[in-house]
Amino acid sequence: MKKIHIVLLLLVIGGIVGMSFFIKDLTTQETFSTASQKKDFVVVKVQLDKNTPIEYDGLKNPNLTVFYATDQQGKRSKVVYKNAKPTDIEKSDGIDLNGYMRDGYFECTKLQMKCPSKYKDDMKVAQKSLPTSDSASTNKY
């Protein structure tokens, strides 16, 4: 066996060890109900409940955002996010909540929003800037 083969072997082993740490830390996508059984760090795909206002007051506590969300099975839960209210959360089409299910609420440590406006080609948002039939009928243009 050549020296280079030994080195290669060591590197590959190193790589595998590194990757196995990564794989060990991989989590799964859960729903609120399965997350409460798991107690581990999980990812839950949810939709913001737009009927309940988002609680955030930068003066009182700039590091606390509370909102409600429904998961893919339609279960609704309170979500506590100890950070400033994410920009554009109202506009999100969906949110990936990262965190832990606690008693009665989901403690979110990181969230990833899917926002139509973030994606450049989304026409729904773009259409908003077009005149609507109301404004046109008043002959503003």
Binding site: K2, K3, I4, V7, L8, L11, V12, G14, G15, G18, M19, F21, F22, D25, L26, T27, T28, Q29, E30, F41, V42, D57, G58, L59, K60, N61, P62, N63, L64, K82, N83, A84, K85, T87, D88, I89, E90, K91, D96, T109, Q112, K114, S117, K118, Y119, K120, D121, D122, M123, A126, Q127, K128, S129, L130, P131, T132, S133, S135, A136, Y141
Partner: protein
Amino acid sequence: MNFIGEHLLPGQLGHFFLLLSLVASIGATVSYFLSVQKGAFYNNAGNALKGTGSLSVNTAWRKLARIFFITEAISVFAVFVTLFYIISNHLFEYKYAWQHSSLSLEMKYLLSCFWEGQEGSFLLWSIWHCVLGLVIIWREKEWEGPVMTVISFAQFCLATMLLGISFFGLKSGSNPFILLRNSGVLDNAPVFYGADGMMRQDYLSLIKDGNDLNPLLQNYWMVIHPPVLFLGFASTIVPFAFAIGGLWTKRFTEWTKAALPWALFSAGILGLGIMMGAAWAYESLNFGGYWAWDPVENASLVPWMVLVAGVHTLLIYRHTGNALRTTNLFFILSFLLVLYSTYLTRSGDLQETSVHAFTGEGITKWHLRGLLLIFLLPSFVLFFKRYKHIPFIAKEEEGSSREFWMFIGSLVLFLSAIVIIAMTSVPVFNKIAGLFTGNDKTFKAFAVGEDAAFAYNRIQIFVAIIIGSLTAIGMYLKYKTTGKPFFKKMIIPAIIGLVAGGLVLAFGNIDYREHGIGYLGAIWLALLASVYSLIANGSYIFTGQKGVLKKAGGAIAHVGFAMMLTGILISSSKKEVISHNTTGIFLNFGEGSKEKPGENLTLIKGVPTKMGEFTVTYDKDSAHPKKPLWYYRLKFEKDGKESFSLAPNAFVNYKGNEGLMANPDAKHYLTHDIFTYITSLPDPSKANEDTTSFKSREVAIGDTVFYSKGFAVLEDVSSIKNIPGVEFGANDSASVATIKVISKTSSIFTIKPTVINLKGTVFAQPDTVLQESLVMQLQKVDGKKITLGVKESDAIMQYVTLKAYKFPFINLLWLGTLIMVLGFMISMAWRIQGNRKKTSGKEKGVKMAGVQEKAFEV
């Protein structure tokens, strides 16, 4: 039907040139292919001619191919000019102009509009291919045929991306010249249609303005970063094409000489492009840094790493005849990884994990996957078919030789790249796994664990240690074998380097314990290695290359790289949140609470607030004259000596959407940056000027203070010793007053203004009753008596909530990048010069021939 006000000519011209470029690229591909196939590059039995004589091609076909390619280049330029004309003249009848630009956009950002869309960025890529192709036709006479076959074919593939025509239900690309009225955007807006259901002839008069450029892209880096990055991406095809050309024509070794400067160019430019992207992220994104291991970033980093590995193995081959097979593999993979990255970032398959992955609209997923496969399959087949014929040296390299350690370094880079791309591809694996498990939901999609950045960092830190050490030592080794005198040269820089690294560790106060002592140890090792590498390569320029800079490209690039590594390690491990929230509910934590203080701090207008070592006042704000862009001036003061203002800005309620898009601002010092951005704001449309100031009153416990809408009772004053994020010295103290506010409407609020005495300076942290527009400030505490500042404001409270960081030594990263790129370019120039000498004078021809002879010993 004719519509009023439309300019149809530019679109027709543009579309004509798109089609012409498609046809011309097919022509160029076929003719270049035939020029090589019909030339005499190997004998009839199919055996390679043994590295003698130059590659002869069929000149008639080549002539035709050149005409085709030049036509192609002209067409692509014409398309570019036409599209830019449409954007810069605000012809909103075209969807592209409407979607990506607006009347208020500054001239410089019109270029950014161009590459905001998928079509524009593919066009940019295509243009760079044309430029590179023309240079190859001009300079690389011998390898023009095979290399240009590959490039012309890539041009054909890119042209299909811009076609916008459907075949058998599959849409091929997206035409940038599509009219707004044909794009479907207007279909759901009845206002554009008359009573008869037909589009109104004057529909265009209703469209006053375009959709504008994404505010995040309205940054000067976005004018320059995409062209440079795409030049980097585009140029990876050149080493790839050389390698493929070598395999194809069975001239396995001859291409290496011509390919080396190209590979160096590509590595330099791609590196520069990536780091410009990092600079943009640092300056205009809010993830608090320049690098977040985001898929889009990884996708550009990985091809670069493989390319750099390829450059090193190519150098090994050029000097010793080893590692030719690996070089082929690395160059092929780096281009394929560019294509894979294009698929990852543009197909929308990564939407869920990336902050800024792009959608799959416009250019479809199958098309991007197809683009990858159409290059992947033939090049792999060719590589494995010819693998056995690629010359190699059976004899083992010496342990003291430069090539041995260079090869290991390349392998480490390569494996590290594979690990990164595998980690980035988790959503792709999910997708593939989902295909097999179908709809029965047995498969639970995977997601990256709690700390994604750490998942990458803890692997890459070891790569940093190895690469840092190897680059430090490598230059002092000689090819083939290193004798004792050379080892001696290594000793002094090693001592100086390690001492310097030790000093950085001793006085740098690198104490990053978030991930345990083991990880901190790894950071120390990596830092030691990178400082050592910095010094070792720096001194090699003078000892090894005698200070002749034009020869020292390699050492200079390594100096830059080591400097980058040092900058990355210091700035990341010493990055500090200075906007720790020490007010509000966080005061209520019990002794020894492990709760992390919040990272957002609210500043009330005109009220100085303590932030890290600064006292910050939100001073005033101003608006952009044409856009809903607001600048918030924050005055930073330190010990009364130092004072500066930062103006982070934010788009507020941009285009009728609630919310804000914030851009950070930073104060650059030589040794660190203070970096801040807005995270939250009250709605500025409701705010008005607040002119009132605090009125001071002396109050004892139990006393009542009246204000216009009610009264307040001082309930308690107590001293506290535990404020998260604040370290108390022996003479420091903090007091908190508990005040009950009872309003006329008999609502009761409790507020807790605080005063902190820190190193002789007094910081008052006021508390507020938002509903009452009441602010109370604890100004002085004297036993159980206090001085209380009361402020009432008619205005709704104006405030900003922000995050602020201190980034130490970030400048090392930027400077290192420049030096590294400079090194690549110097190296490239040196190699080009060398190649020219060899072809004209044949002075060194003997030496090269020797290497090639060796290469064929097999």
